[in-house]
């Protein structure tokens, strides 16, 4: 999300603002909003409608939907293909951030690389931005586990050699393949609704904190994009299944699936870095369509294992270190902070240079973190 606030507007207030978001958005393991409960029937609707369900129930605005990949609603989702166990795991977790690498980050635009596209995205120097990174939570993990069990059998049935069990699969044209795609799409819809609800609570925190309305705060969605999903798409005249894992869609200018506002610029591409250095906004390119099926990198990727990060931080206070760098961090678990230390990740600035130089996305803006909420 972008805002109409600038760095000077939140100077000296950041700590309180981050605290208020930390309280308003459930972030740690097992955390949930006490004022929010879902019946199984409601959850079915979430899986069918995605972000639209959230908007219909007062979370965010109708205008947001235009700026979400697939308008936040994958049509071929089937709630019937999602197990009872997945429903059970999902019912209390909608609207929660989760731990691991999931985060809410308040940052500011430090540098603009492409003025025209930045203007189209509504981004400018010193502007406050908010980035939210989370997904389908336990419901998605359960869908994965349920279908892995099934796919291990189907791989054998279709004579598919598996170098590793986790790579089990089925032909897309098979009944099993079709059911999995429908269940995965339902999980994706859950993720769209989840982010939409969290966005709403972040907006609410800003409104209360600054005692200003949404219009004045200018908290508008730049884009919401998936980074772990298989989609049926057309490329070079062929209907394909494009699986973006640790990758994100990067559609070029002129693509018919982009909102009117971004038809000339290409799709906003978000590449988050680590909590201490930077994140980037890029734009999709024609070259990505030619070379990578309209895809680009999703993030920096780890360079240190979690154990190495734990060893490297022995005797250090990560939160204090971040604070001395001017970044306020709140985390439900200390271990999450330790495992997510900036040096555990590759330098995202180098990663985006590679992506930009390869021509599969075009650099638009650099965002520096100011405050981070982690699970």
């Amino acid at each position: 999300m972008r805002s109409s606030l600038s760095v000077k507007d939140i100077k000296g207030k950041l700590e309180q603002l981050i605290d208020s978001i930390f309280l308003n958005v459930p972030s740690g393991v097992g955390s949930r909003r006490k004022d929010f409960k879902l019946s199984k029937g409601d959850l079915r609707k979430v899986l069918e409608k995605g972000a639209l369900w959230a908007v219909e129930h007062g979370y965010g605005r109708k205008e947001d939907l235009e700026f979400i990949e697939d308008n936040g609603n994958i049509q071929f989702a089937s709630p019937d293909d999602v197990s009872d166990k997945a429903y059970e795991r999902g019912k209390d977790q909608l609207g929660t951030l989760g731990s691991g690498n999931h985060f809410i980050e308040i940052g500011y635009v430090q540098e603009i690389y492409h003025n025209e596209i930045a203007q189209t995205f509504g981004l400018y120097k010193d502007q406050i931005t908010i980035m939210i990174h989370t997904g389908s939570r336990g419901l998605g993990y359960q869908v994965c586990d349920d279908y892995i069990k099934e796919m291990m059998k189907t791989s054998e049935k279709y004579g598919i050699y598996l170098p590793d069990r986790q790579l089990c699969c089925a032909p897309l044209s098979s009944r099993e393949g079709d059911r999995y795609l429908s269940a995965m799409a339902a999980a994706a819809n859950y993720a769209f609704a989840n982010r939409q609800m969290i966005s709403h609570w972040v907006r609410e925190s800003f409104e209360r904190f600054f005692n200003m309305g949404l219009e004045k705060l200018g908290l508008n969605l730049v884009y919401d994009v998936c980074h772990n999903i298989a989609k049926i798409e057309w490329h070079k005249g062929k209907k394909l299944c494009v699986h973006r894992k640790g990758a994100t869609r990067a559609y070029p200018p002129g693509h018919k699936l982009l909102p009117e506002k971004y038809r000339k610029s290409g799709q906003p591409v978000l590449i988050p870095g680590d909590m201490g250095r930077a994140s980037y906004v890029l734009a999709g390119t024609e070259r990505a369509m030619e070379e990578t099926f309209g895809s680009t990198s999703h993030g920096a990727g780890r360079v240190m294992s979690r154990n190495e990060a734990i060893k490297a931080t022995k005797g250090r206070s990560v939160a204090q270190e971040m604070e001395s760098r001017g970044i306020i961090v709140r985390a439900a678990s200390k271990m999450t902070l330790v495992e997510e230390i900036p040096e555990a990740y590759k330098d995202v600035s180098k990663v985006v240079q590679v992506v930009h130089n390869a021509g599969i996305s075009c650099l638009v803006a650099k965002i520096i973190p100011l405050g981070v909420v982690k699970g």
Binding site: G30, E88, R89, D164, C168, M335
Partner: protein, 139 residues
Amino acid sequence: MDINERYKIIDHEADVGFEVYGESLEGLYKNATEALFSLILERGTDVPSEKGKRIDLKDGETLLVSFLNELLYMWETEGFIPRELSLKVKENQVTGSIIGAIFDPTRDNIIREVKAVTYHTFSLTCENGIYRAKIIVDI
């Protein structure tokens, strides 16, 4: 391997894993449960309320992964923390009961969220009467 070693946490690029040992399949399952929950939380010592669970799972050679995912499901949906396992493990079936406690934030300290127990590089072998399994969990 130290004869008394029940499990050891192993490195993985983006996730975490453990190698677990047991002198019987039942012992292996018990130690794997302990390894998994050592990644999730630090249990408090004072456990006043206890709860029992029945287990009856059938699966092929990845039965141990299914069992651990079942425990993860109980943890995530009910906050169930297993403590005492009384299991019978045959080749394709695990049955029995588990006694444990329900998570209490004033007593137990959460370390991290485990998304799933995976099948990635999973192995289970038996050599000289010692069972050994390798498991990677998705963080």
